[in-house]
Each structure stands twice: as C-alpha cells, then as structure tokens.
Amino acid sequence: MAESHGGAKSPAAGAHTEAEGGHGGGFPPFESSTYASQLVWLAIFFVALYVIVSKLALPKVGGAIEARQNKIEGDLAEAQTLKDQSDAALKAYESELASARTRAQAIGNESRDKANAQADAERKALEEQLAAKLAGAEKTIASTRAAAMSNVRGIAAEAAGQIVQQLTGVVPDAASVNAAVDASLKG
C-alpha cells in the first residue's frame, strides 16, 4: 500500500532491496529468487492454519452453534410438552366439571321428587285426619241438636200443661198435651 518512502526516497529504497534481497530491481512478483522462501513459509503457515482450523477452530465454533441449536430445539420441545400437559389438564377439568354438573342435577331431581312424595303423603294423612275429625264433630252436632229438640218438646209440653192449669184450674191430661204440642211443633 501507499508506503512513506514511495516517493523521493524510492531509488535508495530500491537499492536497499537489491542489497538485501539479492534481486535486481525488476518486478517483485516475478523475482524467482524469492519463490523458495515464499513457498516454504506458505507451506508451513498454511498447514499450521489447516491443523488449527480442522482440529480446534471448526469443532469449537461448530459445537457452539450446534449446542445453541439443540438448546433452542429442546426448549421448544419442552414448551410443547408443557402446553400439551396444560391442554390435557384443561380438558380433564372441563369433563370433570360437566360430569359434576350432571351429577348435581341428578341429585337435585331425586331429592326434589323425594320431598314432593313425602309432602304428598303427609298432606294426605293430614287431610284424612281432618276429615275424620270433621265427621265426628258433625255427628256430635247432630246428636246434640236432636237432644236439644227433644228437650224443647218436653219443656213445651210442661209449660203448656201449667198454662192450661193456671187458666182453667184443671190439670190437663198428659197425652192430650203432648199431642197438642206435637201438632203445634209440626205447625
């Protein structure tokens, strides 16, 4: 590249090169006296580079790239497994919920039916009881009324006999009083 002594000092530099390199001022790439040195060192350094590259550099860098690739793939696979697991858990939860709901409905229906049946039975028993009590009460009322009616007849007959006695002074015959009372009661 642009070397400092490329200008004014170049004849001196050329002479210097000639003195040291032993080649005569021609075109450097075609100076055959330098070929052996270049080839020897190229062979040494290129073989050294090849050994370093093939034994150390490429396995190391390739290993790092592969390790990263594996890590990424492993992480993705793990994420997929976890997602599958959570999906499965969600599905299980939903089916559990659905079955619980059905079960709850069944239990609700059953207990409602049972309660209805029990209530029906109780109501029926109560109604029978009440009907029996009602019938008894009606019977009592009827007998009481009959008794009262017969008492009314006796009292009326007695009162009629005493009225007749007070008015006429004659004690009327019980049979005719009773007949007269009966006739007026039938009225």
């Binding site: 070397e3 200008g7 004014a8 006296s33 350094f45 590259v53 150390l56 290993g63």
Partner: protein, 249 residues
C-alpha cells in the same frame, strides 16, 4: 516526486534461515504477514468464546463458519463438507491477508503469483487425486458432456480437457492480478496527491483534492475486492471439488 507503485510488492528478508541448493530460505515480510493472518484467524476462532448468546467476536466467528458452510452446501452439496476445513482455511487465509494488506504500509501476500499459484495448485491436485480415488476412471467422464453429437465430441472433449488444466492458471491469476492491479492503482492515485502538492505548491494541494477523492473511492472498492476475491477463490474451489464428488453432473 516520483511514483514507484511497484515498491510495495518487494520481498524484504527479515532474517535468513539457510539455503536449499542455490535458493535462500529467509523469513521475509511476506512470511511475517502470513504469520499475522494465521494469528488473526486463530485468535478470532479460538478466543471468541462459546456462549449461548454470542458476543461480537463470537458472532464474527460464527458468521464466517456459517458463511463458508452454506457456500459449500449450496455448490458442492452435503458431501462437500468433507472439505470444510480446507475451504474454510483458504477463504479465511485469503480474506484476512487481503484485508490486512489493504492497510497502508502493510504487505499483501496474494499480490505474488507464486503464492496464489501454490494455493490454486493445492486445490487442483486435491480435486484430481480425490476425484480419481473416489470415482476411479469414471472421474474422467467430466470431460465428456452429455448430449453432444458424436462428430463434434472430440473437439468438445479437447476444450474440456484444456479448460480443466487451465483452471489453476485462471484460479491463481484472477486473485493475483486483482490484488496487484488494485494496489498499483491506489498507489498511483495517492501518489498524484503528493506529486501535485510538491510540484505546484498551494495550487497543487488544492488540485490534489480530486485524486484524493478518487483514492478514497478506490479504497472502498478495494475493501470490497479483498473480500470478493477471497469468496470467488473459495466458491471456485467448491465448484471444482463438486466435479470430484459428483463427476456425473
């Protein structure tokens, strides 16, 4: 003022190690920048941590990894991942050394044809040896395209074979020439600024704004080219390797 756009490509020995035949083996500025590239890549890839949520440095390391891996998968298929370390090393080595080389006063390794040719030949022979070892003689069926009429088949085969053997040439020259030309162009335009200023005084410094703006624009382009040429080198490697892995296609 004199512009010397070639000087930046000089190979300067830092110390000499020894000789093979009549060739001197020295640790040069080129070797130093190879070491720098290897060190930067190692640091980036190894010191960047392995956290689950990456930091900046780790992100850069992982983006490089994924970028090269997806390039291989899309051009050579899953079987191409066998060559992941090779293609990753090539791409990172070229990309980092190009980007380092674009910093002023540094040296660009891939501006030398010998280096890019060595890398291209490495790919060429990898393809050839792996292709033959895996597919046997069937590998050479890449020279015989399907559905070509018999009378022009020899010509097509000749072109296919020629283009196969010219692959390392185009593969290496493309990278080398791009880096070389880019750096020369930058050097020339940057040199104009100084040259105008020193030769014309105040007027020259004002006039230097234009080449300076051009240098900035070229610099941005060169950053793109530095990355793009590394990518092109890597993707061509994948395409050539695809021939070795699937010769029937």
């Amino acid at each position: 003022m004199k512009i010397d756009p070639i000087h930046q490509f000089n190979i300067e020995p830092l110390f000499t190690l020894g000789h093979i035949g009549n060739q001197t083996i020295a640790f040069t500025n080129s070797s130093l920048y190879m070491l720098v590239a290897v060190a930067i890549i190692s640091l980036l890839m190894l010191a960047s941590g392995t956290q689950l949520v990456p930091g900046r440095l780790q992100s850069v390391a992982e983006i490089s990894y994924e970028f090269v891996a997806s390039t291989i998968r899309s051009t050579a298929g899953a079987e191409g991942m066998k060559f992941f370390p090779l293609i990753f090393s090539l791409f990172m080595f070229i990309c980092v050394s190009n980007l380092v080389g674009i910093i002023p006063y540094t040296f660009t390794i891939s501006s030398h044809l010998i280096v890019t040719a060595a890398l291209a030949l490495l790919v060429f022979f990898t393809v050839l040896i792996y292709g033959v070892a895996k597919n046997g003689l069937k590998f050479f069926s890449i020279f015989v395209p399907h559905g070509v009429p018999g009378y022009i088949l020899p010509l097509v085969m000749f072109i296919e074979i020629l283009s196969f053997f010219l692959r390392p040439v185009s593969h290496s020259v493309r990278l080398f020439a791009n880096m070389l030309a880019g750096h020369i162009a930058l050097k020339v335009f940057a040199g104009f600024v100084a040259m105008l200023g020193f030769s014309l005084g105040a007027l020259g410094w004002v006039g230097g704004v234009l080449p300076l703006a051009l240098t900035v624009a070229l610099y941005a382009l060169e950053i793109l080219v530095a990355f793009l040429q590394a990518y092109v080198f890597a993707i061509l490697t994948c395409i050539y390797l695809n021939d070795a892995i699937h010769p029937g296609h």
